[in-house]
Symmetry: C2
Subunit: 237 residues, 2 copies
């Protein structure tokens, strides 16, 4: 490899590795070459290679695990749509750091649709949660959830604290719940959703509509989720 002047070598190495990754030479999830192998390939010092890798880690393209090696970050997350799949488990399982943060919440009266799915009378007070789910700080999905307000009064604070709906529901005695129905479609995002997903408006989102029920089969949550189609793939068994 010969270096062009005017651009630091570590940046050129970063660029080359980035090209390799987008060309599929290193596929998502793959182990990258070790530092010493890259040293030999590029004919530079180990520290120079490390500088380039640090930049790739910084931009979330690769992930480094001490003692194991560097891996191409899976940018497209396989999201199994099982009846008991939990967001944080899926993301953690891929060595990525999950986060779910509340954007806004409100208590309002159930519309006909919401009431139907939650099996309550229209006009019943429901809690609306609007949240963004992220992995390593990259937004994967935005969700609008509805829960009956009477049963889950105060759940908002717990959700904000624990950043997990599963955890919040546990505080209400629900140790186990499962997904009842899921409807899937593809749409273009509203500008608000596109912005929260940090994605262009002309890139589609996968939209799911689902109802969660407790162990007795009583609906506890109805939600509409928009997944970034560039970062998430839904897997149906």
């Amino acid at each position: 490899m010969d270096w062009e002047p005017g651009l630091s070598i570590w940046k050129q190495i970063e660029k080359q590795l980035l090209a390799d990754i987008s060309d599929g030479v290193f596929a998502p999830g793959d182990k990258m070459p070790t530092e010493m192998e890259l040293v030999r390939r590029f004919g530079v010092n180990r520290h120079t290679v490390r500088r380039a890798m640090a930049a790739l880690v910084d931009s979330n393209v690769v992930r480094v695990e001490q003692g194991r090696g560097a891996f191409v970050q899976e940018q497209i997350l396989d999201y199994p749509l099982g009846s008991k799949t939990r967001f944080s488990q899926i993301v953690s399982g891929r060595h990525r750091l999950p986060d779910k943060r509340l954007v806004s919440s409100e208590v309002l009266k159930a519309t006909a649709t919401v009431a139907q799915f939650l099996d309550v009378k229209p006009g019943t007070r429901v809690i609306e949660l609007f949240s963004v789910s992220e992995a390593d700080g990259v937004p994967l999905a935005v969700a609008t959830s509805y829960l009956p307000a009477a049963r889950f009064d105060g759940i908002v604070e717990i959700f904000v604290e624990t950043k997990s709906l599963t955890e919040a529901l546990k505080r209400f005695g629900i140790d186990d719940y499962s997904r009842k129905t899921t409807r899937i479609s593809a749409t273009l995002p509203s500008s608000r959703v596109a912005n929260l997903l940090k994605q262009a408006r002309n890139r589609p989102v996968i939209s799911t509509e689902s109802v969660d029920v407790d162990s007795a089969g009583v609906p506890i949550e109805y939600g509409v989720t928009a997944f970034s189609s560039d970062r998430v793939q839904l897997i149906v068994e």
Copy 2:
């Protein structure tokens, strides 16, 4: 300085410098000691100091300029409320990188308030722009702007492209405009605004309401802006 085991030296240096900054030893805008001075102070190699500084740069606490030195990043931006102050100029002048991105836009009919400020009839079609202004990637303010749709048809695309209202207005032949009135108040942000500002809902925002007029005195823009009170201070001459 003696090092405690278990935590890398560069992290301890980072921590110490961070403490100095928050203790006011180095005030915002101040020049930090040079690398060689820090080398002498901490008794370590220059590269170790550089590793610590790189972390501070990464977290946006300091800013480094080659050949000049490192400076404590001004976290509270003084925003002069002159009649012709421009966001990008103010931010650039502080050696920070301005960015203004559109969150959403819509064409709708003017409410009574909007119509009054823009001096048009209620119901006139106006363009609503909802945008976030950032410096070095840190959100400083969210703004809702209204412009008469008839006069500025197509301005949305130009705004998205140039990321500047000043630039976009130039394409419509407005080389000069000035702020006519500004009303200032303090409120707590809606969850949407708080989230876009990446700020807690219990931290207040400075809310301004302003009207911009062209050189002939004709209103061209009415806007409501929410500044993060933790990051911006308004200066009135």
